[in-house]
């Protein structure tokens, strides 16, 4: 169990940049605002700008690496989005415009454009998300949420879940090692039960002990103080207010001028369109395979 905690704080990357030192409240507010605006617009240019700004923010806080890793981690999702939407678009205003054919499959312009916009949305949220979350210690995050009246139980549950993920990951590695030592080959469906059952039952046992430990330490008392304190200075409140204003303004702009609906369709030459789809398939395959390989190696 030792050593898993280093990555226990999921997104958090320790550091001393200006963004690290900024209060969690305005960071959260700007992130929330950004998500609202991103979801309000389909304009790929606007989304791309936000994504790039997010990346610059992350880089300036020296968490550019974390941002890149997140983008790569979500690459299979993005890639599958592109492939599926391009080949089988969900909806077209009128008939869908085919752009090119790959044998039995047809690449549709609206579908591809829609997918690219979705991917741009994803990227925008990822980069800004990483910039804000990687520079905020989860404990500070929850402390500030509690100050704005988030119930203690909710923040506790969220904190526990954060800790649970690396614990589960560690458990999975140990169980895989134990079963491989009994001759298990880690590919194929036969590996599922012998791997998952011990992890689940172990987690059950550990969770029961945790519950007992928390109760035995008095958790659940109504009146409580907080060890983790986040001071809210005037500048933090101003920054938060600015975030709210920017969000409102951005949303209004998004709805009125930046294509609040699936207005603009990017028109791409056939070769480029096909290229994008094929590249997406390759990205998907490569990332999935190396991910599974890494898991099997334990």
């Amino acid at each position: 169990m030792t050593g898993t905690g280093a990555d226990a704080l999921l997104a958090y990357v320790p550091g001393h940049s200006w963004l690290h030192r900024a209060s969690p409240l305005p960071k959260l507010a700007w992130l929330a605002g950004c998500v609202v605006v991103v979801l309000a617009t389909w304009d790929p240019v606007v989304l791309a700008v936000i994504a790039i700004l997010g990346f610059i923010l992350a880089a300036s806080a020296r968490v550019g690496r974390a941002a890149t890793r997140t983008v790569i981690a979500l690459a299979p999702v993005a890639a599958s989005l592109i492939v599926l939407q391009a080949l089988a678009p969900v909806a077209c205003r009128t008939a869908c415009t085919p752009v090119a054919s790959l044998g039995p499959l047809t690449v549709y312009q609206e579908g591809l454009s829609h997918a690219l916009a979705l991917v741009a949305r994803l990227l925008a949220m990822e980069t800004v998300g990483v910039a804000m979350l990687a520079t905020t210690h989860p404990s500070d995050l929850f402390a500030v949420l509690r100050r704005v009246r988030l119930p203690y139980e909710v923040s506790l549950m969220a904190m526990l879940s954060l800790q649970l993920i690396p614990q589960l990951h560690h458990e999975l590695r140990v169980v895989l090692q134990a079963q491989r030592s009994r001759g298990l080959r880690t590919t194929g469906i036969g590996a599922l039960v012998p791997t998952l059952v011990p992890v689940v039952s172990g987690s059950f046992d550990r969770l029961s002990t945790l519950v007992l430990s928390l109760e035995a330490r008095g958790l659940g008392a109504k009146a409580r103080t907080s060890y983790r304190r986040v001071d809210l200075r005037t500048v933090d409140l101003v920054a938060t207010a600015a975030a709210i204003l920017a969000t409102v303004a951005g949303t209004v702009m998004a709805i009125t001028r930046w294509g609040g609906d699936q207005a603009a369709t990017i028109v791409l030459p056939p070769a480029v369109a096909v290229g994008i789809v094929v590249a997406s398939v390759m990205v998907f395959v490569v990332v999935m395979v190396s991910g599974l390989r890494a898991l099997a190696r334990g």
């Binding site: 050593g3 458990e171 140990v174 090692q177 491989r180 030592s181 009994r182 001759g183 334990g298």
Partner: protein, 282 residues
């Protein structure tokens, strides 16, 4: 399985974890077939890392680990499982089946053995560990000591040449610990090679042909238990203590210069004999 050389050969083995912690720093060791080797050392000395190097879960970054003639760097863990069986410290990491029989059959099936052979091997290990009465029971419903036995049995069912036990008696009471010691002695009598990693020095004293003491990833002492346990300085520097009865035997003035004892009966025998022959004196 005639002794054609040692069954485990480690040469200058080095291993470092990804985050830079050096766990094993130049280990050279031979284990002869049929020996029981006890591995002792403080927490963090590298004992568990060594266990995982023995069955290929970890591959040495330098040096070689050869088990039954196979280089662990050139074979998959599931291939090496035929030769080396590793029993993990926590049985919960392994147990998953609906019944004990299913659990015990898992290993042999993974080795690709035909069903009749699987049944035979399971029957043999059931008889050895006296698990007849719980065959149809779920391993999760068994009390802790029995669960450990099932985990041990599930590895033994693969009939490896070498059995590696990682802390087999943690949290066990004295009856269960004695049972494990008995099993190790039986296995040894049947020619199995056993590597036993433990904090329980009394257990190691009771079953080991040789003791290996590790500290900071290196072997600081290796030899017969009597020799190793007598070296209080090395043991102390490694953060461990010889069994109490051994230390007592070494501290008694009337036994000065005599070899270390490994158990209560032995010391009692010596002292009683000395007393009756009028040797002992304050």
């Amino acid at each position: 399985m005639t002794g054609a050389g040692p069954v485990l050969v480690l040469r200058e083995v080095r291993y470092r974890y990804p985050r830079g912690v050096v766990a094993v720093d130049g280990i050279t060791l031979d284990v002869v077939a049929g020996d029981v080797v006890g591995i002792a050392g403080a927490n963090g000395a590298g004992k568990s890392t060594l266990a995982r190097l023995l069955n290929g879960l970890l591959r040495p970054l330098a040096g070689t680990v050869t088990v039954g003639g196979l280089d662990t760097r050139r074979h998959e863990v599931h291939e090496l499982a035929r030769t080396v069986g590793l029993v993990f410290q926590d049985p919960r990491a392994q147990l998953f089946a609906r019944t004990v029989v299913e659990e015990l059959s898992f290993g042999p099936r993974n080795l690709g053995l035909p069903d009749p052979e699987v049944r035979e091997r399971v029957a043999r290990v059931v008889a050895r560990l006296r698990l007849e009465d719980v065959l149809a029971v779920s391993p999760f419903e068994l009390p802790a000591p029995r669960r450990r036995l099932v985990a041990l049995a599930s590895v033994l069912a693969m009939e490896p040449r070498v059995l590696v036990l990682d802390e087999p008696t943690t949290g066990q009471d004295h009856h269960a610990t004695a049972a494990v010691a008995g099993i190790v002695r039986d296995l040894r009598a049947d020619g199995m090679t056993v590597v036993c990693i433990s904090h329980d020095m009394r257990l190691l004293a009771a079953v080991s042909d040789r003791i290996v003491v590790m500290a900071a990833g290196r072997i600081v002492a290796v030899g017969a238990p009597r020799t190793v346990f007598a070296d209080a300085g090395t043991l102390g520097a490694a953060g461990i203590l010889a069994p109490q009865v051994t230390r007592l035997g070494l501290a008694l003035p009337q036994r000065h210069g005599r070899p270390a004892v490994l158990g209560v009966e032995e010391l009692v025998g010596e002292l009683a004999a000395a007393r009756s022959s009028g040797e002992g004196s304050p």
